[in-house]
Amino acid sequence: MLSLLSMGYAHPATNIENDFLEKLDVGTNAQWIVEKIGIEHRVTTLPIEYIKETRNVEPWEGKKFAEISPTDLGVKAAKMALEKANLKADQIGLLITNCCTPNDVAPPESHRIAAALGISSLCYDIFTACPAFALHMDYLSSFEEEKLPEYVLCVSTATLTQHVNYNERSDGAIWGDGAAAWILSAKHKGKAKVVDTHFNSDPTRSEAVVVDRFGHFRQDGRAVRDFSVRQTVRLIKRLEEEYEIDWNRDVFIGHQANKTMLEQIVNNREIPEGNHWHNVTHIGNQAGASAPAVLAMNWEKLSPGQKVIVAVVGAGLSWGSILLEIQ
């Protein structure tokens, strides 16, 4: 059975405040953002003056001004995970990566991250954007355990703020940039045992969430929100039915799309606020890095016997869940 040995995360330092978005004068205001999305500020790899002057109407210009790349964030997160696992990069036998905002479309992001870390073992991208944490866990759980190397490093990184048109009322309020990394082993016990994984998708709805290669992020907001809440609740319910979940002890982490959506979910499942971990209110939606970054940021708070349910949804449309048991 797979064990989660360690995690890492990385976020840029520049904040986009709600007041800043209000001053862009695109029909939004700070109060609306907090009421509808529940995000107070979010982090970006873009200079704030660049966003103010250009609104990132031409995202290819944004890439030139970006202060940090998705690769940089991924490497930083990976280094944290390696340090926490007390491992060197050359001990990694497989690196898989998810990145929905690459600076180059070839070679895959995994190769850029591997090059920066000094990893020379097999690496490739396993990609589904937002639900990557669940996909990677489910993908690796599918292997015959003896076919997996001793240590596997997974990285999910995204810089969606570089693909937002800041003339759009709500898009600029949603996204933040970030990366998360985690190290797994089927041969060594870690802090968290991977008890259950699930991944599925409905590609007939793949046009609902899109980042155009030569354009911006766009989505059918209402449809995606309804899908996200419904599907996340279903994912949690299945795990509640099949396993002994105690919301006074156990933790829920959802996809960090927005806080009001997460509140609907936790209210539906009657999860106490203290057992609902999130970071969206001050970081924004970091796509496939979101949920794992939450877990990484709270790693030291986990206690033996506790269970963690991660339920994530997103582009594809795809969704998945992970059940961890803390050892």
């Binding site: 479309v105 895959p108 097999l122 599918s142 991944f199 998708s201 980042v211």
Partner: protein, 328 residues
């Protein structure tokens, strides 16, 4: 064992010959390309008039004028794949995609294609550029049987000519556009069985050939001669170490950017020249599409009992190899 039950291929419709290319690009002749790489033409999704006028190199503009997208090409390969596998699309339980030239950076190529097929099944991309086919099959061969659905659809769709600047030198001649798809199963025997594979990567070289998100394809000038050719040879050495007695009766698939090198390898290692399977001479190197496209193109000619030796090197793939058994 993992089996390949069916494979299909759809190249882009427009053919760009060496003569036309050398007229537009300058700096090399048609004969130069053929003698260096063995490539006579390549398929492209771009109108020839666009290339004549602009010489390429601006993926943003190329995308707007392209006659078809990688997704369109992938969809064009599906019917042949399913017919050869003898299944309907409703029987597919998992779709794994690949592209190095997406029109959207989210969602994945597999999700775009599966969506247009009307499929509601787990779908994601496992991609490694030139190594994608090897990586996909190698991974699925390592899955627990209970974790694989009855039928898996794999696909690779690429349009690198949309990122090429014709003025970049002779390497502009290497690439072509096309898509291939394949049905895989661990529970039903198919025409081809995956015997063994290996993949070696060298991420430290990831700058030697890259496709920029917004810009053009950049490639080390001697990429084929200095990297692909010697490494494909190393790959074949390794495959020979596993199945040396089968070489003289087997088939060889080498890197599609180096048909000259592939034919030389075949001679050196003792392959019968009639069993060297290439299509790079006609279609160019289509990245992850190339290997499955060759299997698809030669599908009905593959003779039972023989082995197929696949020796590869390219973007994101230092070298890799796979040996397939022709079972039916």
């Amino acid at each position: 064992m993992l089996y390949i039950l069916g494979a299909g291929f759809k190249p882009a419709d427009t053919v760009l010959t060496n003569d036309r290319l050398s007229e537009m690009a300058g700096g090399f002749s048609a004969a130069d390309i053929e003698s260096l790489y063995g490539i006579q033409s390549r398929s492209t999704t771009l109108p020839i008039s666009y290339l004549e006028e602009t010489k390429g190199g601006n993926a943003r503009k190329a995308f707007k004028v392209a006659n078809s997208s990688p997704t369109d090409l992938a969809l064009g390969s599906i019917d042949e794949t399913l017919a050869r596998a003898g299944i309907s699309k409703e029987q597919i339980g998992l779709v794994i995609g690949d592209t190095a030239t997406p029109t959207q950076i989210t969602p994945s190529e597999g999700q775009r294609v599966a969506g247009k097929m009307g499929l509601k099944v787990p779908t994601y991309d496992l991609w490694m550029a030139s190594g994608s086919f090897l990586a996909q099959l190698d991974a699925l061969s390592s899955f627990k049987p209970s974790k694989l659905p009855e039928y898996v659809l794999g696909l690779s769709a690429n349009a690198p000519t949309q990122s090429i600047d014709l003025r970049s030198g002779k390497t502009a001649a290497l690439f072509g556009d096309g898509a291939a798809s394949y049905v895989l199963s661990a529970s039903h025997e198919g025409k081809l069985g995956v015997l063994r594979a290996f993949i070696d990567v060298k991420p430290s070289e990831c700058d030697k050939l890259k496709i920029s998100l917004y810009g053009s394809l950049s490639i080390q000038d001697d990429f084929v001669e200095a990297m692909v050719r010697p490494r494909a040879r190393e790959a074949l050495e390794r495959l020979r170490g596993w199945f040396s007695s089968d070489i003289s009766e087997g088939y060889l698939i080498g890197p599609s950017c180096d048909v000259v090198g592939t034919r030389a390898l075949a001679k050196e290692f003792g392959f019968n020249s009639s069993r060297v399977l290439v299509n790079g001479d006609k279609f160019g190197d289509m990245l992850g599409t190339s290997v499955p496209s060759i299997l698809a193109q030669y599908w009905s000619q593959l003779e039972k009992g023989r082995k197929i030796f696949i020796a590869q090197s390219g973007i994101a793939l230092c070298h890799g190899g796979m040996v397939l058994q022709v079972i039916k």
